[in-house]
């Protein structure tokens, strides 16, 4: 076990935390936090695994830079949508009833 592998394992755990939060948290702001934690976890796995021999690898590093920019783009769009929802419904969570439509006994 070396340092990059420690970070790869940490990344795996962060991915799991993020996915769990994304699925279980109801508040949209928390879902957005969870998405970012999930993303950070993936980035750590990508670079940590690639550098497990201890040699820096610029290719996954460049990919993570791309990933960070994509993550901020998604975060900003998600926040804009969450705010619209807040302004319209007074809540920053998704309405339950829509999921409830998916039942046969309508």
């Amino acid at each position: 076990m070396n340092a990059p592998l420690i970070y790869a394992l940490t990344g795996a755990a962060l991915f799991v935390f993020g996915v769990t939060g994304l699925m279980l948290q109801a508040h949209l702001l928390r879902k957005i936090l969870a998405f970012n934690v999930m993303g950070s976890g993936i980035f750590l796995v990508l670079v940590g695994l690639a550098q497990r021999t201890g040699i820096p690898d610029p290719v996954p590093q460049a990919m993570v830079l791309t990933g960070i920019v994509v993550a901020i783009a998604a975060t900003a769009l998600a926040l804009a949508l969450a705010r619209q929802l807040l302004d319209q419904s007074g809540e920053m969570r998704l309405p339950e009833e829509e999921a409830g439509k998916d039942k046969l006994d309508v």
Partner: protein, 222 residues
């Protein structure tokens, strides 16, 4: 029902975590060694810093699409209909201290952005970091009440937002007369990358600041 769902999700993701950890610890050495290839071709890439070489040359196409993703996110935010009520900008309490600080820091931040951009050719840095510094200056100016939030960007601002992507596409497409998409001719790579990065820095700064300023505009009045 809810508790059952929680338990199901937790046990599923927990199992996923265990399998993930186990498979990470059980890896053979990789067959392809890209770091060596990057080092071998670094002289041909036009820059001396490997990460910049990957971002703007070897995998420059990824970066081209990524700029589109960023512009697209801002576009998605601008496309949302404005609320009829509450779109009035918040009266910003102008703190003279903060304003003076912002006036002093902004030129400095622009200088720093320029340095970070230039440095990216041979050490850590580049268009993204430089753009983030510019965006930081924009956010600071807004907080100090010196820069209004964006309700609807005008044509000049839209052109500025799109410049980075358009210059990138123009360079990539022009190069096709000589070779393939984004294939820099020998000797020209360094200069062309600098042109692309400079325009990207401008647009990235505007877009990243825009992500903040567009949201700041949709603030309701207290």
């Amino acid at each position: 029902m809810k508790a059952l769902l929680n338990i199901a999700v937790l046990s599923l993701t927990g199992a996923l975590g265990l399998v993930l950890a186990w498979s990470i610890l059980d890896l053979p050495a990789s067959a392809v060694r890209l770091p060596e290839q990057v080092t071998a071709q670094l002289d041909m890439s036009g820059v001396a810093h490997p990460v910049t070489a990957v971002l703007l040359n070897f995998r420059g196409y990824d970066t081209l699409l990524e700029i589109a993703v960023l512009l697209l996110a801002l576009l998605g935010m601008l496309a949302l209909p404005r609320q009829a009520s509450g779109s009035k900008p918040r009266p910003v309490p102008a703190s003279p201290m903060l304003q003076t600080l912002a006036r002093l820091l902004t030129p400095l931040m622009v200088l720093v952005a320029g340095y970070v951009l230039w440095a990216g050719a041979h050490r850590p840095g580049g268009a993204f970091q430089a753009g983030a510094v510019l965006a930081g200056a924009g956010v600071l100016l807004h907080l100090a009440g010196l820069l209004p939030a964006w309700a609807t960007p005008g044509r000049a601002l839209r052109a500025g937002l799109a410049t980075g992507l358009l210059v990138f596409i123009a360079v990539a497409a022009t190069l096709m007369t000589q070779g393939t998409l984004l294939q820099y001719p020998p000797g020209w790579a360094g200069a062309l990358i600098l042109v692309i990065e400079a325009s990207l820095t401008l647009s990235l700064g505007l877009i990243l600041a825009g992500l903040y300023l567009v949201l700041a505009d949709s603030k309701v009045q207290a």
